[in-house]
């Protein structure tokens, strides 16, 4: 485990995102006494328990009561503190949705939500514990910032940055050992600014969360085997969206696919689609994610494969979209 301020590929490959989050929060707690922690009988699973052990007086386990959890967090924020709240994504964004909206976002409070078990990362648990709607829900709340880190390193960056970022922040992480995408945390993470993982000119893959690493691997395969030049963008912040990066992709590659561990309705894909549609430019575009269904059960690796969110699936989708003919579009030569 790394000491101090930096996280590297070793940490990300030996610790879960949640583990790293727990350590970062302890560190932040040391520097900022206004930080308090809350959970709802998931202190251990979400790793906010590390903070609880270090600062028992600044931690509240409210029991299995998520609505009260977020209501109390709002109250603590109103009193001038900075609450970090952790439970599973599904209970955060649906069970307590109104508390998050009306108590926290409406009052624009400094509550930092680190939600675990996002998407289908807890695949075996079934629909009650899957959360493929959270990005859509959180994105629709005014004042909310929505971040989906690609790996543990980015999770560390996101958690460190969110303290400086005023207002409510929703950071969505996974459940298990999401492999490292970055080598270290020095790649210039800024909330709201996407990261170009690989440059490319034929097609752009806009990703968040676990799909970033998979897309990078897919890009290598496609470059090597198909001679396709693939741009991969890590759109870690879904809101506010880095619209410039999307517009650049529209103009420079004319083909875009989004990949997310989330329903294709309302999440990253929809956010990107909105920008493309409003640009008035023609662009071959596909959203890949969980279709309009509740995911089947299984270990996450199998599910990511099934829903075309792993490197194999991404390669397949890219070949499909590369074969699509849209060059007839009149607006093709329109200036940017």
């Amino acid at each position: 485990m790394a000491e101090g301020l930096t996280w590297n590929v070793y940490d990300a490959n030996t610790m879960t995102q949640a583990d790293i989050y727990g350590d970062v929060l302890c560190m932040l707690g040391e520097k900022n006494e206004r930080i308090v922690g809350l959970s709802a009988d998931l202190a251990k699973s979400t790793k906010i328990g590390k903070f609880a052990q270090k600062y028992p007086d600044r931690f509240f386990n409210v029991g299995i009561a998520e609505q009260n959890l977020f209501g109390m967090a709002a109250g603590l924020a109103l009193s001038g503190l900075v609450p970090f709240v952790s439970t599973m994504a599904v209970f955060t964004t649906m069970r307590a949705a109104e508390q998050v909206r009306t108590d926290i976002c409406y009052q624009n409070l400094d509550v930092k939500i680190i939600a675990t078990h996002g998407g289908i990362s807890f695949g075996q648990a079934g629909t009650t514990h899957h959360c493929t709607e959270d990005i859509a829900i959180m994105r629709s709340l005014a004042n909310m910032t929505v971040v989906v880190p690609a790996d543990g390193i980015e999770c560390a960056n996101a958690v460190m940055s969110c303290v400086e970022h005023p207002g409510p922040v929703y950071i969505r992480i996974g459940r298990g050992f999401e492999p490292a995408c970055y080598d270290d945390d020095q790649y210039g993470f800024t909330i709201g600014r996407s990261v170009e993982i690989t440059p490319g000119t034929d097609i752009t893959l806009i990703c968040c969360g676990i799909t970033v690493l998979q897309a990078r691997e897919a890009a290598q395969i496609l470059e090597r085997n198909d001679g396709i030049s693939v741009r991969v963008i890590n759109m870690h912040t879904i809101k506010p969206l880095d619209t410039e990066a999307v517009l650049r992709a529209v103009n420079e590659t004319r083909r875009i696919i989004t990949f997310e561990d989330h329903t294709i309705y309302g999440g990253l894909g929809s956010a990107v689609a909105e920008v493309i549609a409003e640009s008035g430019k023609a662009c071959a575009f596909t959203r890949v994610g969980i279709p309009d269904c509740y995911s089947v059960v299984g270990y996450p690796e199998d599910l990511y494969n099934f829903y075309k969110l792993d490197a194999d699936g991404i390669v397949e989708k890219v070949r499909e979209v590369m074969g699509r003919d849209f060059e007839e579009a009149e607006s093709w030569e329109d200036g940017f």
Partner: protein
């Protein structure tokens, strides 16, 4: 009429079998909520073998009694029980948690034959059970609804919202049972979020409260029977149980709220059961 010696022995055998099944499922699934599954064995067995009017050949039979397993994480207990009771082939449980399996950690009504409600998010079961019971009453049906709650689960506001409604609408065709094993996920219920005085809380919400040893068939039998004939107010049975019951190294140890077993540990755990029988 109390249970006969023979009936008791039979129920005991079902319990022993179910405990072994829970351990097997935990092994096959690569992990399960084993502690809170072992604590409800006698409750499930007596409901499904003695009280509930069900027909495994007609799982959708309209007049069947219903169970809402509000503590839905105990799917590792209910799934093998439904199988042993004849709803489906036991072998199919080997796919537990695996790709496209009908069985995930929290059971899905559309996939598991004999299951009356999909649960897993805590605090949803009692509201649904109250709705089921009211629905039966409204349609003049005589079937009964059972609802099994976790004690930690009673932290959820919706449990109390439903309790208020059950008392308000005098929902007496519903029998609510709480698995009072005194542990939740992060620790003991009294340390994480104190529930006591739990019986008084239910009384204050308009329930008649009965407390039993949740591992004693005679006590469960007598109490559930009485609850099922009570017409004055809804009844809640607080069943005092042991989390991890039957496997000594799991008993009252919160680390076994959720856990996995390798083949060695599976054998060790099964020996503990055999030792007890």
């Amino acid at each position: 009429m109390p249970l006969t010696e023979q009936e008791l022995n039979q129920l005991q055998r079902h319990a022993n079998q179910l405990r072994r099944d829970i351990l097997d499922v935990t092994y096959w699934a690569g992990g399960a909520h084993v502690g809170g599954s072992l604590s409800i064995v006698e409750i499930l067995v007596i409901l499904y073998y003695t009280f509930m009017n069900i027909d495994p050949r007609k799982p959708e039979m309209e007049d069947r009694d219903r169970l809402v397993l509000s503590k839905g994480h105990a799917g590792a207990a209910l799934a093998p029980l439904l199988s042993r009771r004849g709803f489906f082939d036991f072998e199919s449980l080997k796919s537990f948690n695996k790709f496209k399996s009908a069985f995930g950690m929290h059971l899905d009504k559309h996939k598991v034959i004999g299951l009356d409600a999909s649960t897993g998010s805590l605090g949803h079961g009692l509201p649904m059970a109250v709705g089921l019971a009211l629905g039966a009453r409204l349609q003049g049906k005589s079937w009964r609804t059972y609802c099994l709650l976790g004690d930690g689960e009673c932290n959820e506001g919706t449990v109390w919202e439903a309790a208020m409604a059950a008392a308000h609408y005098k929902v007496t065709n519903l029998t609510t049972i709480i698995d009072r094993n005194k542990f939740m996920l992060d620790g003991s219920t009294e340390e994480v979020m104190a529930l006591e005085p739990l019986a008084d809380k239910w009384r204050a919400f308009g329930f008649l409260v009965k407390e039993v040893n949740g591992h004693s068939y005679p006590e469960l039998y007598e109490t559930i029977q009485a609850a099922n004939t009570e017409k004055g107010a809804p009844v809640v049975i607080i069943a005092h149980t042991v989390k991890g019951k039957g496997v000594d190294f799991m008993e009252n140890d919160v680390r076994w709220h959720y856990g996995g077993l390798d083949s060695d540990m599976l054998e060790k755990a099964k020996q503990k059961l055999a030792g007890e029988a």
